[in-house]
Symmetry: C2
Subunit: 108 residues, 2 copies
């Protein structure tokens, strides 16, 4: 059974986390997981080809932003929000607030 590798919280790298969050699709995945988690990849795919989605999830996993666990036939994704908060306090919540306020600006 496929298992994914995830960095330890001590190995989180700030610029890798910022890079993972700096792509609009990856940021949208993080926002969706912040609203409801865990989620399988399917509803997060947003019409993208599977190879592109796999790549983006790999970037999120390697940075320590997302954890993917195999549960039966599903690959369930969740944010590593507690560990990110432990390592970089306030960072993820500031990014999520900024993303929401940006969307409200654009919608408004």
């Amino acid at each position: 059974m496929k298992q994914y590798e995830h960095p330890l919280v001590e190995a989180f790298d700030l610029t890798a986390v910022l890079h993972a969050l700096s792509d609009p699709y990856r940021l949208s995945v993080v926002q969706k997981l912040a609203e409801a988690q865990p989620q399988p990849c399917g509803p997060l795919q947003a019409g993208r080809p599977k190879s592109s989605v796999s790549h983006h999830f790999m970037v999120l996993r390697r940075a320590g932003v997302v954890r993917t666990e195999v549960v039966g036939a599903l690959h369930m994704n969740s944010l590593r929000d507690t560990e990110l908060e432990q390592r970089f306090p306030g960072l993820l919540s500031a990014v999520l607030k900024a993303a929401q306020s940006e969307q409200e600006c654009r919608a408004g």
Copy 2:
């Protein structure tokens, strides 16, 4: 006399800001400016070739992170921290705190 272009605060894009901060050299420039500003490019160059430094400052300016103003023969750089705080509250300070804590982890 050369003038640099800077986006209006309303045009700041979150993923562009995160991308600008996701490079170790650019993040180090932001940290140095957070300690003392404005500063000319020279002391921020850190032994890099001028073309590389120019590119990185362009990325920082286009994202709205840094403002460069021509003062006589000097190109003086400062953080747009007030405008970033206005647009994305808490983001820059969370990134600066995270960068500092990461450096302390590595040093300790």
